[in-house]
């Protein structure tokens, strides 16, 4: 088993990084009730870990008995009926799903599916919680319509059901939904905290960490705890005992993106644009989310960019990311960004060096 999962804290008591948050959550457990919750924070900060730990403490071991199901719902919109398929992970106490998987039909997930789940009260109360917990992931990716439908559901079925929402950016969740939840901000762990975790794992695994090794990995991880631990283990797989200046090999896709960045900077021509397009396709085909590609690409470009251009390039990156979210064919927007960048950069080079 990977260390990330192996050393994941199973209860709130064992949480190392967000102790404060964990303490607060524990109070809900003590009270045997909780409001709707909205966890938000960057990836790899521990939202899911906290949620699972919370649920587990609330309901006990029963939540471990989960089944994975791919359910199909018949949706009748009045004008047409269609089937909606969605994977969900459920135990007798909680249901976890990712409504944004339904794409632009996510509205129906919220309207129909969640309603249906939320309506039924759990039968085997047995003195335990008389409510179900519905964990919704990636709420920020829900369409606006879906979020609007969500707020009604939240109020209407609050007696039998608690929603735990989980997302990266709370700004993409509508005000109305946010105000109906207790917002829990889960910060990205600081590098010190990451080092602390890594050392904890190292101790458990009986590893010898050279001085500064954990700090280096923490720095490389960009304050993403999950990634840090994965890096850590990668290093272990790569070479043990660790050498003094060992670094984890970069992630495959990140490496690929930085190659693209180098290509773009070295030559700006239609030909290069074409080959960059091929590489983008390669990344997209390998299921790398376009937003991540753009972000990483920008970071890589920034490293080598003249400071005069930084502002403008950032502006365009934001511009195209926005358009990318509005559109559906990500490659067009990625390509447009690269073309724009090439145009700007080339002009800049010509102006600077003739």
């Amino acid at each position: 088993m990977l260390w990330v999962d192996k050393h994941r804290p199973k209860t709130l008591d064992k949480v190392i990084v967000h102790e404060q948050v964990a303490q607060n959550l524990k109070k809900f457990v003590a009270e045997q009730d909780c409001p709707h919750l909205l966890f938000y924070g960057p990836p790899g900060s521990g939202k899911k870990t906290l949620i699972m730990a919370l649920i587990k403490q609330m309901f006990g071991a029963g939540v471990d008995k989960v089944k994975m199901e791919n359910k199909t719902w018949k949706i009748d919109t009045g004008t047409r009926t269609f089937d909606l398929e969605l994977a969900m992970l459920s135990s007798s106490h909680h249901v976890e799903m990712n409504p944004s998987d339904a794409g632009f039909q996510d509205r129906y997930v919220v309207q129909e599916v969640i309603k249906e789940m939320a309506k039924s009260r759990p039968i085997d109360a047995k003195g335990k919680r008389a409510f179900k917990v519905l964990v919704l992931n990636e709420v920020d990716k829900l369409s606006r319509e879906a979020q609007h439908s969500l707020r009604r559901t939240m109020e209407k079925y609050s007696a039998s059901c608690r929603l735990i929402l989980c997302c990266n950016s709370s700004s993409k969740v509508t005000e109305a939904v946010r105000s109906r939840c207790l917002n829990v901000r889960v910060n990205a762990p600081t590098e010190d905290q990451i080092v602390q975790v890594l050392e904890f794992i190292g101790k458990k695994e009986n590893l010898q960490l050279p001085f500064g090794f954990a700090a280096r990995i923490a720095a490389q991880s960009n304050r993403n705890l999950r990634r840090a631990i994965l890096f850590f283990e990668t290093c272990k797989v790569q070479q043990y005992p660790f050498s003094a200046n060992q670094v984890a090999p970069p992630l495959d896709w990140e490496q690929y993106v930085s190659e693209i960045a180098t290509e773009i900077l070295s030559e700006q021509s239609p030909k290069r644009l074409y080959s960059v397009r091929q590489k983008f396709y390669e990344l997209l085909v390998n299921c790398i989310p376009p937003e991540s590609i753009l972000k990483k690409l920008l970071t890589e470009l920034m490293k080598k960019l003249d400071s005069d251009l930084k502002h403008e390039v950032c502006h365009w990156a934001a511009h195209y990311e926005h358009k990318m979210r509005l559109g559906s064919k990500a490659i067009f927007h990625l390509e447009a960004f690269v073309a724009k960048f090439m145009s700007i950069y080339k002009e800049f080079l010509c102006a600077a060096f003739g």
Partner: protein, 1054 residues
């Protein structure tokens, strides 16, 4: 002061008309009382004897007649603007105080046209007189003009300048127009405008030298016009087809000439005109007029660049006078038309064959000479009027542009009556004929009566004839004698299928041939019900449900049995069989059945024989594919008909007609009949004009559309053409454009050493394509179909307008053709991979070891997961490695397919394959080890299972609860039949805890694999949402559980 300009525009008219001046004055004097838009009243100038410019104007006005109001508005607007510009700029034109003029103009815009020339005219001294003189003799004048062109002496230059004044400006305008099309973005606009400005200035200078004011103003005017009248411009565009642009360019060159600049050089600097240069003296020469058909019987080949005409124009000119233009030299060629001996293939061959060379001037002379000197003035008015209209239309369309803005209304007044006169004349003429013409549609009237009348496809006709003739002998008698001998002999088919585009005479052929053979043709077409009759086809007429076809083929009164009583035999013509659909349920199948039992021959007719519907029918039919007749064949026939109808028609006009309708004789006849209503003489130009707009719609492939949009002349397409092109396939065209726009070197960029400009264009095109994507989302997701034009603009037209030019090859070895859009393929791969990743994801989730989202799985986990999976295989000894990897896979309940998915997803082009360095032996050991373990493996994941024999996949994935395998569970050999009710099944599965049995080891796995394949096939044929690839994975993952459900007599363990 604005009137000055108008006077310039009037000038050619005055010059040529000579005598018209007074009358114009008279008109002007009389006019002021009339309201601005009272067009018909302005009849005065119409008396001008057929001089070219007048006719041109007449043309213009005729053309714009319906738009008069708007145009007048535009004129007003533009003139006021002009005024502004002029007052600041014009120094010379103070003869007339602007204020006074303004008053006048405010009152009556069009009056100025007539007043001002008069006033302006007076100061002008000798040259106009000379011109006037020249104008008195039509023939002479042409010659002189030509001379002038050749020898730019000062006075000549002026004469010319004036003569062409309007044209030059108009041309510049036309030019601009053609550019503005390019998607209406600023840059293009600028580009387009600059030249026109330049041209205007050039002119201005030239004129200034001669002492004429208004030159500068003139140039400006043009620009001004450009600036304001978007509408105006569009109007013009609509009216003047591609010619406008071409002419326009020429005009600009001409405009520059008087200024003493390099002739026609103005244009080339900023626009690369592709492979062929522009004619150096484009539009400068007066195209002569000659006697109709003066070139009849001559064949020309055009080579290289001509002096003043575009090749297309030259071709038109020749055809107009009855000559032929061919592409390559042969012995029959009369002349090689070339102005410069570029020593190409054509000229070499011409020398070899002794074909004489002819220059453009020579051609003009030829045409000119042919014109009978005696040609009465009246002739212009009456007979050749239409011809001339046409001519000036094609030739001087740009003139119209600006002239319309200025003196449109007046001209309109002039021309309308004359036109109506003419029309009434011709209708009078025709009335006589109409009487004996009858009301029959020509297509019916001239339907071929004998097979020899059929145009083209004679071999098909013969084949059909032979087939019908031999049919009886082949099928009936042999059928009677020996029943087993039905389909035996060779490829003899019992039915025949005629296919080919509409209007080329398939139905006619079938009818005529059967008529000739004395068979009674029974036609059944889409208007008759042709549905399936009864399952027992033999029931025939007796069956109450039998349909008409059945009756026909088996009816006793029609079939062969009556043959003996010498009654006519019948043939069934099934027309439009590809139209059998919807209402005609089972029609084709029934038809086939009918063919099998038929006792009369059946002739099926369709347009598209590759249609999906006809696939089965094709096997039973003799296929006869009709082709479009050649234009010569059709031309001949059309000539015949025209002669019979008393229409004078040029042969090449008919051929042109044939070409325009793409071989559809029916349509050609309809056009001809329609034309015959208004004119008795059909000339080449009539056809050109009439059919330019109404040319038959063609299917264009997306590739052709993209080629045209990106083509070198893509910038000259009209907006509606572009929309048509990109709408020809609104899904594919944008994709192909997106795929290929990088490959084009935009011609609009011009000189661009560093490539910055091109990069800039690319960026803008890419941006626009991205915009198009956003609009597309709105269309698809929110069904905002009204946005489809915007989408097509953003995703196709703008990028094409920016990037059109020459295509370049970016990758070595690539063919220089547009690639098919790569997006579709990549998208499907992406979604396939996403599904696979989702499988992995759900497996991992089900393992309860990790709780992560898909993105994190791909972005963060994947690298390490893969390492954990592959590294041991590379480094450790086989046994140990395999064990370790299987263990790891079990922890995360990864299946072998997941393993493959992970490997697949981390493959990058140009990076080492993660599987490199793993011995095949190790791989197979892994597979073996995994399979070994699978019998005892806990089923952790939920998967879709398709049950053979069931139509749909299960509604719910079979779920398994994750619990340690409880071996002690009593094995209740499930009897639930796999074929059982779907609902029940899924329910039980849901409720039951599906724990795989460990009792059926290897053998089951084997059969499982087979099942997997079968499942896959089923999935494909069912077209269900789950991927084909998933299925095998499924059943294997599930191990025996999968089999329990899917396997025959599946055993389910409880």
């Amino acid at each position: 002061m604005s009137s000055d300009i108008r006077k310039w525009f009037m000038k050619p008219h005055d010059k040529n008309a000579g005598a018209a001046k007074p009358s114009a004055a008279g008109a002007a004097a009389g006019a002021p009382k009339k309201p601005v838009l009272s067009i018909p009243e302005k009849a005065a100038p119409s008396s001008v004897p057929g001089n070219q410019d007048a006719s041109a104007r007449r043309k213009t006005s005729k053309y714009f007649a319906p738009k008069t109001e708007k145009d007048a508005d535009v004129a007003e607007k533009s003139s006021s603007k002009r005024k502004l510009q002029k007052s600041s700029e014009d120094l010379e034109n103070d003869i007339k105080p602007s204020a006074a003029n303004k008053v006048l103009k405010d009152e009556e815009d069009d009056d100025d046209d007539f007043v001002s020339p008069l006033k302006k005219k007076t100061p002008v001294k000798p040259p106009p007189l000379k011109k006037l003189k020249a104008a008195s003799n039509d023939d002479d004048q042409d010659e002189r003009m030509d001379e002038d062109a050749e020898t730019p002496s000062k006075s000549a230059g002026r004469g010319r300048g004036r003569g062409r004044g309007g044209r030059g400006a108009g041309a510049a305008h036309g030019k601009t127009t053609s550019h503005d099309d390019d998607g209406g973005d600023d840059r293009m606009d600028e580009d387009a405008k600059t030249p026109s400005k330049a041209a205007g200035r050039g002119r201005g200078r030239g004129r200034g030298r001669v002492g004429r004011g208004g030159g500068t103003a003139h140039g400006k005017t043009t620009t001004g016009l450009d600036d304001e009248g978007e509408e105006d411009r569009m109007d013009e565009d609509d009216k003047t087809p591609s010619k406008a642009a071409a002419r326009g360019r020429g005009g600009r060159g001409a405009g520059a000439t008087p200024g003493g600049r390099g002739r026609g050089g103005g244009g080339r600097g900023f626009m690369n005109f592709g492979e062929r240069k522009d004619p150096p003296h484009k539009g400068e020469k007066e195209v002569p007029e000659g006697a109709p058909d003066c070139l009849a019987g001559l064949t020309f080949v055009i080579s290289g660049t001509l002096d003043s005409l575009e090749r297309e124009e030259a071709g038109d000119l020749i055809k107009r006078y009855g000559g032929r233009v061919t592409g390559s030299i042969s012995k029959k060629t009369s002349y090689l038309l070339a102005d410069e001996d570029i020593g190409g293939v054509k000229s070499n061959k011409a020398k070899d064959l002794g074909v004489p060379f002819l220059t453009e001037d020579g051609l003009f002379d030829m045409i000119r000479k042919s014109k009978p000197a005696k040609a009465p003035v009246n002739k212009h008015e009456g007979n050749s009027n239409s011809e001339k209209l046409q001519k000036s239309q094609t030739k001087s369309s740009p003139v119209k542009a600006e002239r319309r803005a200025v003196d449109q209304v007046g001209a309109m007044g002039k021309s309308t009556p004359s036109k109506s006169n003419k029309e009434s004349n011709s209708t009078n003429n025709q009335k006589v004929k109409v009487v004996d013409r009858g009301s029959l549609q020509w297509t019916e009237k001239y339907r071929p009566k004998v097979p020899n009348d059929i145009v083209g496809n004679q071999s098909m006709v013969k084949q059909l004839h032979d087939w019908l003739k031999s049919w009886e002998g082949q099928f009936l008698h042999s059928g009677q004698k020996g029943k087993g001998k039905k389909q035996v002999d060779g490829g003899a088919k019992k039915a025949v299928l005629l296919s080919g585009p509409p209007g080329i005479g398939k139905t006619t052929t079938a009818k005529v041939v059967s008529q000739m053979l004395g068979l009674q043709a029974i036609e059944v077409n889409a208007s008759d019900s042709r549905g399936k009759a009864d399952s027992k086809i033999e029931k025939g007429v007796g069956g109450s449900t039998s349909n008409s076809i059945k009756e026909l083929i088996s009816n006793a009164t029609l079939n062969y049995s009556d043959n003996r009583t010498k009654k006519p035999k019948a043939v069934l013509i099934m027309d439009e069989v590809d139209g059998m659909s919807a209402g005609d349920r089972g029609g084709v199948a029934d038809l086939i059945a009918s063919i099998k039992i038929s006792k009369i021959p059946i002739v099926c007719i369709c347009n598209d024989r590759y249609s999906q519907k006809l696939k089965s029918l094709v096997n039973y039919c003799l296929l006869l594919n009709f082709r479009k007749p050649t234009k010569q064949q059709m031309g001949k026939r059309l000539m015949e008909i025209a002669r019979k109808e008393g229409i004078q028609a040029q042969e090449n006009a008919m051929e042109e007609l044939a070409e325009r309708v793409h071989g559809d004789i029916r349509m050609a006849l309809n056009h001809l009949q329609y034309m015959s209503l208004s004119q008795s003489v059909v000339k080449y130009d009539d056809i050109r004009l009439r059919l330019n707009s109404s040319s038959k719609d063609e299917d264009i492939s997306p590739f052709t559309a993209v080629d045209k949009l990106f083509g070198f002349n893509g910038g000259r397409l009209r907006m509606d053409e572009r929309i048509d092109l990109s709408m020809s396939d609104p899904d594919l065209v944008p994709l192909i454009i997106q795929e290929n726009y990088i490959n084009y070197r935009p011609s609009a960029v011009g000189k661009d050493d560093s490539g910055v400009k091109r990069m800039n264009y690319l960026a803008r095109a890419a941006e626009s394509i991205a915009d198009g994507d956003i609009v597309n989302v709105q269309i698809r997701r929110y069904r905002q179909w009204q946005l489809s034009q915007a989408a097509c603009l953003a995703s196709s037209i703008v990028p094409a307008a920016l990037m059109h030019g020459n295509r370049e090859v970016l990758e070595a070895g690539e063919r220089n053709f547009n690639r098919f859009g790569g997006w579709l393929g990549k998208y499907s791969t992406t979604s396939k991979n996403k599904r696979l990743l989702e499988d992995v994801h759900s497996h991992i989730l089900a393992s309860q070891q990790a709780n992560l989202d898909r993105e994190a799985l791909r972005l963060d986990y994947l690298t390490l997961l893969l390492r954990q999976l592959t590294d041991p295989l590379k480094t450790m000894p086989k046994e140990e490695a395999v064990q370790k990897v299987v263990e790891f896979m079990d922890t995360y309940s990864l299946s072998q397919e997941d393993f493959d998915t992970l490997v697949e997803l981390s493959k990058f082009k140009g990076h080492p394959n993660p599987m490199d360095g793993i011995q095949p032996a190790v791989k197979s050991a892994l597979t073996k080890a995994y399979k070994q373990g699978s019998s005892s493996r806990v089923v952790r994941s939920a998967d879709l299972i398709n049950i053979p024999g069931m139509k749909k996949t299960l509604k719910k994935r079979v779920a398994a609860i994750l619990e340690p395998l409880d071996d002690s569970l009593p094995e209740e050999t499930g009897v639930a039949s796999a074929e059982g009710d779907e609902e029940e099944l899924s329910e039980t599965e849901n409720d039951d805890e599906l724990v795989p049995g460990d009792s059926k080891p290897k053998l089951d796995l084997q059969s499982d694999n087979k099942k997997g394949i079968q499942v896959q096939l089923n999935l494909k044929s069912n077209g269900t949402s789950s991927s084909a690839k998933k299925a095998p994975a499924r059943s294997k993952t599930l191990g025996s559980a999968g089999k329990a459900v899917g396997g025959p007599g599946g055993k389910r363990k409880k």
